[in-house]
Symmetry: C2
Subunit: 230 residues, 2 copies
């Protein structure tokens, strides 16, 4: 064995080109960089990534399956554009799934996990005081993800995460206005209390309400600002 024994090839990316493109496009869509309804030209995306159409097509197919774009045969792909009804349905289901998650998580979380959640809640308090919407949004996401993880059900974690991603493009109006930030924080506090009290049914009920409020906020906003419907 020499000193120069074969090193790990520093595999630049354990990912395939197609999957990188998929992740990148997914980010663009969920962040709103590519607006709902936008037609996606395969050639254009290919050039942007310096690749051929093949991996782009595969990426688009995967995005279609996960619900971020729609593909019509011979007519290409476009970022999903949902009706208000449909978005309402998604929030409704999301509310139920989140309720399920918190109910199960309340029964299964470890002490450590509960305190991690509590810690996140404390952090978000600072963001409320600072009126830092972006940071609050990020911490909010972590808060929910931590609850998903608390179910210890990999399948449920995946399902909930996927749904959250699908709704993402339509949540951007969420925290418009500082008062909404505070309300969200207080709702979290109530949920957290139930979790620590190991009252799973109450936690679930509160979570369902919390999510339905978010849905209502969105749909009302979208209704009042139809031109900015994204």
């Amino acid at each position: 064995m020499t000193v120069t024994e074969k090193m790990e090839p520093i595999r630049v990316a354990n990912e395939t080109l197609a999957s990188q493109i998929r992740n990148c496009l997914a980010d663009d869509i969920t962040s709103g960089a590519i607006a709902p309804g936008t037609q996606i030209d395969e050639q254009e995306v290919a050039e942007r990534f310096g690749a051929s159409r093949t991996p782009v097509r595969e990426a688009l197919r995967e995005l279609a399956s996960s619900g971020l774009v729609t593909i019509e045969p011979r007519r290409g792909a476009r970022v999903v554009e949902l009706t208000l009804d449909r978005i309402g349905e998604m929030f409704e289901v999301m509310a139920e799934i989140e309720a399920m998650c918190v109910r199960i998580a309340t029964e299964r979380m470890t002490t450590l996990e509960r305190y991690q959640l509590h810690h996140l809640h404390n952090i978000s308090h600072k963001h409320v005081l600072d009126e830092n919407i972006d940071e609050y949004d990020a911490t909010n996401k972590q808060f929910h993800t931590t609850i998903y993880n608390g179910t210890h059900s990999s399948f449920l974690i995946e399902l909930a995460s996927n749904l959250r991603q699908r709704i993402a493009p339509f949540r951007r109006a969420q925290f418009r206005g500082i008062q909404r930030l505070l309300i969200s924080y207080e709702e979290h506090a109530a949920i957290l209390n139930s979790i620590f009290a190991k009252d799973s049914d109450t936690a679930a009920k509160l979570m369902r309400a919390h999510m339905l409020v978010a849905g209502a906020v969105y749909t009302r906003y979208a209704y009042e600002h139809p031109s900015r419907l994204e």
Copy 2:
């Protein structure tokens, strides 16, 4: 204009080659024709359908997204092979989703839809008497689908249908034994009663139990017959 004016081109299929292959493979997998764990060779599938690898690859990507196959970069695709734990998690989530569906459906179904459900239930009774497992299974599926549709939430319908499809390859031991058929039938009857009584909470509770029993039946069977784990 002559008599031979251009006829509708009898568009053989409004589908693309890739989507046909996808549907076909999905059937093969859910029906068990291709067993879990089977490695899928792109070239082989391409030849089977008389096509090139390109549409086959796209089909496999979509199947991966919907959870029927797993793809590892550079190592190809294989039919999902799940651990018992994972299957248990899926049944657990499925039970919750189905409970959600029946709760919402109980509140929203039209009179016509309720009677369609009742009709299906009557049909399944015949299959119980005939001990016709395959037919019962088909009617059972329709029964559940009718409940999904009763939610009038296209999003929820899609979600539930997708989950059902994902579990399909692992449900085949479901109705082994006539007594299980009868039990299933009677559980349906109780659910149906609650729906007609518009008691959505009870319907949900019964449905959850109904699905959890199915999951327990499977996992017990799989545990007792590990070699036939499919």
